[in-house]
């Protein structure tokens, strides 16, 4: 189903099972109100998150991506979030050259006990993405075909 038109944007979340997914649960248990845009994908560890999943989300039409894992030193697998931190930071700085605002992607650390922090992160991030507005998906077809269907050709404009 398309996201609620005009009200929601597509925001993908990748959460590690042990800390941040638990943190989101804690926020739920405490009935902390949050925007409804975010859809969460549960992964065992932030170290499992290949930054390319995030790229794929943006290519396919996500307007924002949020990654959250255990705080450094608290990784259930000892080192996963350390690798994640480097890879995600590199990716965040990288995407500007692709023409994607770095603010569309954030990564952070939320522990299983930090329900309040989770609420804050989700709320602020969702607002941040709404400020930027929707991100046009990269067309799945060739531009000439796109021009045929839409009647405009970005190559002409350029």
């Amino acid at each position: 189903m398309p996201v609620l038109n005009g009200r929601e944007l597509r925001i993908v979340g990748f959460l590690c099972n042990w800390c941040s997914y638990g943190g989101a649960d804690t926020a739920g248990v405490a009935r902390f109100d949050q925007p409804t845009d975010l859809r969460v994908i549960r992964v065992p560890c932030s170290g499992r998150i290949d930054p390319l999943f995030i790229a794929k989300a943006f290519m396919n039409g996500a307007d924002g991506v949020l990654v959250s894992g255990c705080h450094p030193r608290d990784c259930h697998y000892a080192e996963g979030n350390y690798y994640a931190r480097r890879r995600l930071e590199v990716f965040k700085q990288f995407i500007s050259v692709l023409g994607i605002e770095p603010e569309r992607f954030e990564y952070t650390w939320v522990s299983a006990s930090e329900g309040q922090r989770w609420q804050e992160v989700v709320t602020k991030f969702t607002n941040q993405v709404h400020t930027l507005g929707p991100l046009a998906p990269i067309p799945e077809v060739a531009l000439s075909q796109l021009a045929q269907t839409t009647g405009t050709d970005i190559r002409e404009e350029a």
Partner: protein, 316 residues
């Protein structure tokens, strides 16, 4: 210098299966990789600004053979990376280095000499090239047709070599200012996206960029042609082509030496190196790391620090 290089190759050849260098190609404007099996093959060796290919790309598939390779400074950094990743054995490779004055960018030549496809003869000297076509003659200074990477070259001499001939050259610059990137990023986000869409649209998915890359070591098992994992489809739309370039770039992060082969090899002249340049500067700034200099170093994305001084995380 070329004679010394030939001598040194001839001396080493008996111990080796062959030595890779460059010879003249199909026309006077194009060199091509030269495989020297016998001493007489060595006589065909050339050295100069037309030696554009990075021969290190062949090394991983030659595992098990003992081979020689002639390298420019930039090529040698790819060799270091391959050594670092254990994809070649140091004792199986004999490296011949010589100082490099820079190589040409064929698309710049094509712009300067629209008749480049009709070339009759080319003379090269220290100052540049004299290109004669069926119609006229063009004198080009090396500076005007030099590959961009050479204008910011920090390593004109091989960083690793068993035999180095000639006098070491001073680097062109001390630091890469990434001016190309800066100017690209002075555009708005939408302009950048549109730029990539038009460029990627042209891609024919031949994967020359990948196969010319000395560090795209997955090659035959690349996710670009796999269903499991199924990262990209075979559609010829912009999305999958762009996605592939992002995959390529990210897989190069912390490994890419910016040798530029991806861009050079592209038959459609898509400026894909820019993506890797971006990652290069990010990696450099974050981890103070330059790839292809130390075979013993641990690449930054396969390592971590408990405290990352350079990473400034978002405060919520």
């Amino acid at each position: 210098m070329l004679d010394k290089l030939k001598e040194s190759i001839k001396a080493a050849l008996p111990e080796l299966d062959f030595v890779m260098g460059w010879g003249m190609g199909y026309d006077p404007l194009h060199a091509t990789p030269l495989y020297m099996y016998e001493p007489e093959d060595v006589d065909n060796l050339v050295w100069g600004p037309l030696n554009v290919h990075n021969l290190a790309v062949h090394l991983p598939s030659l595992k098990g053979k003992k081979v020689g390779i002639v390298v420019k400074g930039c090529d040698s950094r790819s060799v270091v990376e391959l050594l670092q990743e254990g994809l070649i054995n140091r004792e199986d490779v004999v490296i011949f280095g010589a100082p490099c004055n820079g190589i040409v960018d064929m698309s710049k030549i094509r712009k300067a000499v629209p008749d480049a496809h009709f070339v009759h003869s080319v003379e090269t000297d220290d100052n540049g090239l004299t290109i004669t076509t069926d119609k006229d003659t063009h004198k080009l200074s090396l500076a005007e047709v030099m590959a961009d990477k050479c204008t910011r070259c920090r390593f004109p001499n091989a960083v690793v070599a068993d035999h180095f001939v000639g006098e070491k050259r001073e680097p062109t610059v001390e630091n890469d200012a990434y001016e190309d990137l800066e100017s690209f990023e002075s555009q708005g986000f939408e302009e950048r996206r549109d730029f990539w869409m038009t460029e990627m649209d042209r891609c024919i998915r031949c994967y020359a960029c990948r196969n010319a890359c000395p560090l795209c070591v997955c090659r035959d098992h690349c996710v670009a042609q796999s269903r499991n994992p199924h990262w990209v489809s075979q559609r010829d739309g912009v999305r999958d082509k762009f996605m592939f370039q992002i995959i390529h770039a990210m897989h190069m992060a912390g490994r890419c030496t910016e040798c530029g082969e991806c861009e050079r090899a592209c038959p459609m002249d898509i400026p894909v190196l820019l993506l890797k340049r971006k990652l290069g500067t990010v990696i450099h700034d974050l981890f103070d790391y330059d790839s292809g200099l130390d075979a013993e170093a641990r690449p930054p994305l396969l390592a971590f620090k408990l405290e990352e001084e350079s990473i400034k995380e978002k405060d919520w």
